[in-house]
Amino acid sequence: MSENVLKVENATMQFGGVVAVDNLNLEVNEGEIVSLIGPNGAGKTTAFNVITGVYAPTNGRVYFNGACIVENFPHGKMKKLYQGEHLGEYTSVKEPTPDKITQMGMARTFQNIRLWKSQTVMDNVLMAKHMRRSSNLFSATFRLNKREEEKQREETLDLLRIVGLEDVKDDLSTSLPYGKQRRLEIARALATEPKLLLLDEPAAGMNPQETIELTEFIGEIRSKFHMTVLLIEHHMDLVMDISDRIYVLDFGKLIASGVPAEIQNNERVIGAYLGVADDAED
């Protein structure tokens, strides 16, 4: 049980009458790289948002390091509308805001890059260190936290060195080429000192060369930081290359899970991607 870094249990996310994620069960073990794949609109990003606290699930639980961090059941307006399963199994509400979840040790990147645009590369990473501060408003304003500030700056420089952005540390974040912006977003997430890194389509919009570099980069992160990674991705080369296990979503439902070789040969997965299964039934 405790070796699960992340466990999603019977999570259902329903918007009005639309079930975006339907009874999702998912586990990520320590040190693993797990991918969540599926056609467009399958509910992958919604699943991410449920895990990171952007949305509270309509029903279900999320465990992190063995402790339940998110829990909800259909109440209020949703009581009548709810179409999912496992009704009545959960009875309490626990919906922390995203910042609380990040503080617990989960950090994410975004599908459409969300860097702090007016800040330099260095500051982008430094700002993310704010969360791990020990100084309060008073001590920070009157510079009583000098040692911590220096330590933060050193750590930021180290991090930038590791991800290969040291030479551009004083450039504006938006002036970087696309691939490096992605890298910076990952570095920023790492600056919050997470145990689990969630990457939302890190290779989106990248060319093959950049994708190969990214694949290597994710591998490096895992080995250097002993990181556990959950990622959403469309580039199958990347997914098959680095994933230990893969979960496949289609129309909000989990249709397959397993090691890359299993997924590659799974007919339902092929069907979901090519739309064959539906035609055959007709």
Binding site: T45, N49, V54, F110
Partner: protein, 293 residues
């Protein structure tokens, strides 16, 4: 009982003027997602236009009203072209500052042209005639205002629901960019929206200033804020909402003015605003919009 009826009548009358102005806020917000801070000051300028027409140029009232409406519409459309159009793609804060800038400019400009002293508003003979209904005595304008407002709102709702321009307006308020891609001329739709809002503000200003009989440069700012509250109350973007919101604000204000707390009637409006924004952020008839992650 009579006092109660009297207050109801006054409240409905002032409420319908608020509704007319609130529609201007609601329509502009619906399309541009912008609080047109200058709307109250456009309303004030319409008051001065009427004074120029009737007092200074001695034009009869029925022609004056037409001139005032046309002048106010021109002013509103010009403001849109000069101050808002160049900022279509700018961050929201810039547009808001621009709107505040226009409001600030109109107030200062009116002070410059007409001095800070109140100027007396012309009277329109038949509207000021006093009417006796049972025990209540009031002027005709109190009755004309709500009837005219309701007729105008019905007309406006028809326009938005049934005509091509109305359809374009609804499309633009749904999705700015898609509407543009579908070949809707965004700029003319926006100008049209400002024109309607300003025309209603001009009519509202005539009805508002006749019983109050004077105009001064800051006369528009407080009614403007109240009407914005009315628009938020009714649900921003919704025309019937603005009507209901206007009536509610007008009635509650009149009743508080008649009570022991009359000093706080304006403060109360803002307390309503804060309460509404917290408990019912989309107002009575508004739609919910959520930001995408």
């Amino acid at each position: 009982m009579d006092a109660f009826l009297q207050n109801c009548l006054t409240g409905i009358s002032i409420g319908s003027i608020y509704a007319l102005i609130a529609i201007g806020y609601t329509m502009v917000y619906g399309i541009l997602r912008l609080i047109n801070f200058a709307h109250g000051d456009i309303f004030m300028m319409a008051g001065y236009f009427m004074i120029i027409c009737m007092t200074d140029m001695m034009i009869p009232w029925y022609i004056s009203i037409v001139i005032v409406i046309v002048a106010t519409v021109l002013l509103g459309v010009c403001i849109e072209k000069v101050a808002y159009k160049p900022l279509r793609t700018a961050p929201r804060m810039s547009v808001m500052i621009s709107a505040i800038g226009v409001s600030y400019f109109l107030q200062n400009f009116a002070t410059y042209l007409f001095s800070a002293q109140p100027k007396s508003y012309p009277t329109i003979g038949f509207l000021s005639k006093s009417v006796q209904v049972g025990e209540i005595s009031t002027t005709l304008v109190t009755f004309v205002t709500p009837i005219l407002t309701i007729l105008l709102v019905i007309g406006l709702v028809m326009l938005v629901k049934k005509t091509k321009v109305g359809m374009a307006m609804r499309a633009v308020s749904r999705d700015f960019e898609t509407a543009q891609l579908m070949g809707i001329k965004i700029n003319s739709v926006i100008s049209f929206t400002f024109a309607i809002g300003c025309a209603l503000a001009a009519i509202g200003s005539v009805l508002y200033f006749i019983p109050r009989s004077s105009v001064y440069p800051l006369a528009g700012s407080l009614p403007g804020l109240k009407c914005f509250v009315a628009a938020v109350f009714g649900g921003i973007g919704s025309i019937p909402g603005a009507l209901v919101g206007g009536f509610l604000i007008g009635l509650s204000e009149t009743f508080i003015k008649a009570s022991a707390f009359s000093e706080f009637s304006d403060a109360f409006t803002f307390i309503i605003l804060i309460v509404v924004l917290l408990c019912l952020p989309t107002g009575l008839f508004g739609e919910k919009i959520k930001e995408k992650v």
